[in-house]
Symmetry: D3
Subunit: 305 residues, 6 copies
């Protein structure tokens, strides 16, 4: 297995030297050099960044390029170059390359992935669902979390394009953290409807599954994410799921739940994207729990960078 | 028919004198006077405001009160009083009252109602629908406007609780006005997708049907209106209608349409309630057409007050 | 013991009737009636509000007034009056009054007091202090909480003049709630310095002891509170206490702690009163934990009102 | 005629190759190469951007440079170079150049010019003026539009330095578009004074004639434009014109008209430059019509870029 | 002379008693009492406020009323009443009244007037003008201050409707104060053009002469003041005066001066009404000198209230 | 003495040529060239900026580097290079260098230093202190200004990292300028407590002594400056000094003084860093005097740049 060494991560490629280490191919183009010959320019990436690399084949440039698969991982042999000298512009001249199979590399070298144990996080959600008393909310949550495709997406989606928890698995991690804070808030304020607050905490960001397009190389907005934003998409997914239940949720309960999700970006006048002010204790609690978790995460991520 | 004279509207009841004119009963309670006798205190209204009135029966106060129907229109005979003297606090002492039937009063004396001709306004919408080329948008609009219950609600709903077009029929009036501005904008900018813009103009506020509770006496938010706001409710109604069509609207078109509705309060950072910035020419046009119509209406309504 | 009945609280004095129940005398003045006779006008209060009352003595008005003690509790016998009729302006005509001793009334009828058990709250603080590892922070906290006068003030001060936790004991209650949220945040983010965060949570509002003047009747700002605000006063009290310790706290630790307190109202540009942005994970966490607790409390207090 | 081909516009000069196509000379300087020889460095432009070019004469560099006329159009023969390699920094090495006369090039290749037909736009303004009933406003408009120098400037000025309609003829185009929207608004709201609104629509931006300095190569602020802004300059021009009329406009009408121009950037507190809030229906309508046209134009211009 | 005693000013009329003291008649109406008789209701004022008063003539009410002159000063004999009792609503029942001539009252009892010596203030302006070196600015200032009508208005106008220096003579007082601060700023920063700054300081608010309508009783906006605001009116007056000079001011100097006046409310984005940002040292200095003087005046006026 | 010529300042090193002139060494590192040889890369500075320079020794690179002293001034002989050609990236190739002693260079070539005479400025402060009547404030000021270490720091500290007076001596210069403005304000408003205002003006920024770390090469925040900001540090220094006096300052006076310092960034809601609004005339005056001086300084500094 070709585990990357620390000095081989892209952010550390800052001296002129020979290397052999795996990268993802993020992009490729064929270019023409001054001497008239064609060469292949690649954009390589690992979890620390991107770097330009070039292959100068003697012939068959097009075929070679056609055989390079985007978003696949290759073992690259070549040299790190700096041009112009002292410009801090480093690139790689590739001498050899070889596609690696899934067991020949460590995915964690390439994708930015949550460091927390997904199973444990999912267990916390499941335990919470088991302890929900309200039969409608329990059904709703069970319906979401018995859908394997949903669970897979929920466990792997990032929580943001930039900002906080912007890595694979970030959505699950963030949702559980918000849930934990909400548990404490419910302990402090017995007036709060726990079942409602916990359901809101777990589901408030589910729309991010559809709002982001993510893979080894990057996180981006989908067309839906760009034009409708995750607040609306989350509500839409919850609505659709409620309609598919075999019981009819009381309309007031449905409105209360949707309200929490719609208002979780806080007061309208702040201009952070909520179309309604949080108007119930549960909505206020969810907004501030979400904000607390996100803001602490941001400063810790930035400090660690 | 007991048409109200100008001096008999509530806002003009500012001198001590005898009157006979119809009012709506907005509220009633039984109270006890200093002398120990019960009397009935009413809140009367017409389209210009509210006033307190009292009936002092000799006996059977409860039965009399039970026979007074809230939100019905009564011909009231009595005197206007000012107490304390010079306090500008006027009330009515009722001597006689009589329930009027529908043909004995003019509804326009009581409800604040659009002055424009509903049929003509509806015709403008129908003509627009007929000229839509996009088959999906045409179907969607036809489906809404072939639903009589919807059309009735759309024609009678107010467009706001306070602010602009805050009277019965205001939604229809405002929607047609926005449509007209959008027609001009499409003439100016041929790059704009007319079908999409017109559909957005017609449907952008449909959620107000569910967001407001209104009658002769007042306009108020429904629970849904308070907790979800009309932007979301409009989208939800459009989504539901699209799902009920016998053709499948292309996902991209649906997203474009929902985007216009979600973003029609303008840029998120303004804090006016849009959860996404308007990001397409049609969404930008709809937002500013809506704003133009509303703001001119406000100043004209205020000037006229 | 003269425990107030529900209908005898000031907010419920809304019908003309005879009463006998205790009140605090918040204010008194001697006035002259139209007939030339003097009478005493009182401002009475209980925990639900204030009401005007009058005593019309036959003679010796001045002596009677001199014997009425402000901020003391009296059993009042008299009648509730409404003048002008139907004005909803109620006042009390006092026939008899009698000063009550401490065991003749229930303090909770008069002062707005935290409903939580102070001993239990103080125990949570003490347990936290015992578990602090950093010797300087532990000393600092022990020094504060071994000072009986400080503890008394800390347990009885309100947390605000208006807004959240604006009742006696509110400071203690709020501080412990923020501490609980900080414990959860520390569980979620192991990168956080727990000792520092807990110390900040406990001490962040200590300046409120000096910023508010409070008694049975009202909460008000002191001159210091008005001109310096509790952020600065808290820092000043912490600084003074640190200087009085028999060990010298490392300067960096002191700066970190003061930073948390100074920045706990969030980013400077929000205009909420912090003179520096929260720049450490502990400061960010404290700010948002404080905000979360306060905002949920506000909506629950308002809902309950 | 040397009409530019699509691939010869500056924004498309992104490969190393030989070219022959016309450019404007926006700037020139004489520089000294490493080998001690002088050369001429030019800044060339067309409507799509700017590019650096160099002439390396064997001798007489100064004379050659003196004969190159700024803001004139030359047919340039030479090669496109990229240095450093792969830097995307393209420049032109000029082998030959020849000044073109007016009929040898197409102005539209160089200046960013309105695509709409000026005559048709001017006709819409003239028709509007003919239909104005108010004699003072009609005189005022006629006086402006019978001044040929003014009409020339009004037809050719841009409407902005950056942002919307930032090309030659943009002012005319924008003014007519705003007028069209105002016609629709007048149809919707019969309470509006049409003559006043149309006059305001036509004249609201006339100050831009003096606020911008523009030519083939660029749009910039004049000293007056920078220090006084077009709102004030427009008012000043209108005032001056009113004073030159042979009738005396009623003071109130003059104030109403100036008010519309001064307030057309909307409410003062928005910080968009109006020194007074729009306070009349006409002023509110003009502001929002102006904003609608500008904002839709911006997104369409950006989409097209 | 009937100089008002302290206890006779309206703000001190808070006990039931007999009075004899002068007031301005601000308004009058004839009303009908419950007993059917007519009486005259007056609104009286002095510099401390307004109060309602009533005259109950036996007959000839209309003639009596016709002979009462608005905005004139009368010696009023009568009694102060409180109705309803304890309502703090005081009014005056008038027994006798007599119109006073100019030498029978002290104007300062009625109008809120600057306490500073106008002559001394005008002298400071004149000395400044004498010391101006720039011949154009000197001519401009001389032209303004040799116009007696202008000087009269400039000396008596208030500087605001509410806020700072909102009394007769406030404009002169404020202008001289701003000038003084500007003198200090010029001492500190030799880079500043003194002549320009002083001219701006003296003239920056001249438009207030036309923007306010003021008399003994009140300060209000004129139509011009409401629709054009004093920034523009000041510029317009300066422009007009410049055009009337027998020398031609260099255009750049005129632009610089107008710029200072237009921008003296600070940066556009603050939303305080400047249509351009202050962009020269003189404009920045004038804005902040103006702001400093106004803000200190406000707090001193409020403290004194 | 090696006084720098104008063309030798770093901002003017924009042509390829030979130079001999002194610089500060701001930074140094050893690097390895393509040919495998080591060289020394320096960051040189003077008061106009920074430039990269390189020494290519034949041998003993490490020893040579060790003998180069950071923040010392060296006479540098070498050539100015541009690489890549036409890139405007200039650097220096050093041929010879020699450390200069204090009398061989002019400090003003390197450090950005106040141009005003420090003695004169200090005299203005001393004269002010002598004229203070309030014995406590006089003692406080004397205590600060009899501390030589404090005076040295106060005379040499900058007033900002960027923005206004951001050079050595800027704090003294700014404090005296604010004082001068406050003298004028006190003349205008006799209600102001001069002693208090002058003391606040002199001491309002003393915390900058501890908030900035500065030397020949740069101004930066200290840890304290970053985490506590100068408002708090100033108050803390004043508090500490007050506690060290042999008289006890009345608590109210101390609160008033601290209030001025804490609030001198203006209203809390502006988000400029004050934790309390200025609530006294002196605090309002200090805030606006400070702002006036800073804003005029900024535009003059920028104009001069």
């Amino acid at each position: 297995m070709f585990k990357k060494k620390n000095e081989d991560f892209i952010k550390n490629l800052d001296t002129v030297r020979v290397i052999q280490t795996p990268f993802v191919i993020a992009n490729k183009t064929i270019k023409t050099a001054r001497n008239g010959k064609n060469y292949i320019e690649l954009n390589l990436s690992d979890k620390t960044g991107n770097i330009t690399a070039r292959i100068f084949p003697d012939k068959n440039t097009t075929e070679i390029s056609d055989n390079l698969h985007l978003k696949s991982i290759y073992l690259i042999t070549g040299s790190v170059d700096e041009f112009p000298r002292n410009s801090k512009n480093f690139s790689i001249k590739i001498d050899e390359f070889k596609k690696l199979s899934k067991d020949e590399y460590d995915l964690n070298d390439f994708a930015r992935v949550s460091k927390k144990d997904k199973k444990e996080l999912m267990n916390q959600i499941k335990t919470t669902i088991n302890n929900i008393n309200n039969p409608y909310l329990k059904k709703l949550l069970e319906s979401f979390f018995s859908d394997k495709k949903f669970v897979y997406a929920f466990c792997n989606a990032p929580s943001a394009k930039i900002y906080h928890h912007n890595y694979l698995g970030g959505l699950l991690e963030h949702s559980v953290e918000v849930l934990k804070i909400c548990v404490t808030v419910s302990d402090i304020f017995p007036e709060i409807d726990r079942d409602l607050l916990y359901t809101g905490a777990i589901l408030h960001d589910v729309g991010k599954i559809k709002a982001y397009d993510y893979d080894l190389v990057s996180v981006d907005f989908t067309e839906e994410g760009k034009l409708l934003d995750h607040l609306f998409i989350s509500c839409d997914m919850i609505n659709e799921k409620i309609n598919s239940l075999d019981v009819e949720m009381p309309e007031n309960l449905q409105t209360q739940l949707l309200h929490m999700v719609l208002s979780h970006h806080g007061e309208v006048r702040n201009g952070w994207g909520s179309p309604v002010d949080p108007k119930t204790p549960e909505a206020v609690a969810l907004h501030h729990a979400d904000n607390l978790d996100a803001k602490v995460k941001i400063i810790i991520q930035n400090n660690g960078a």
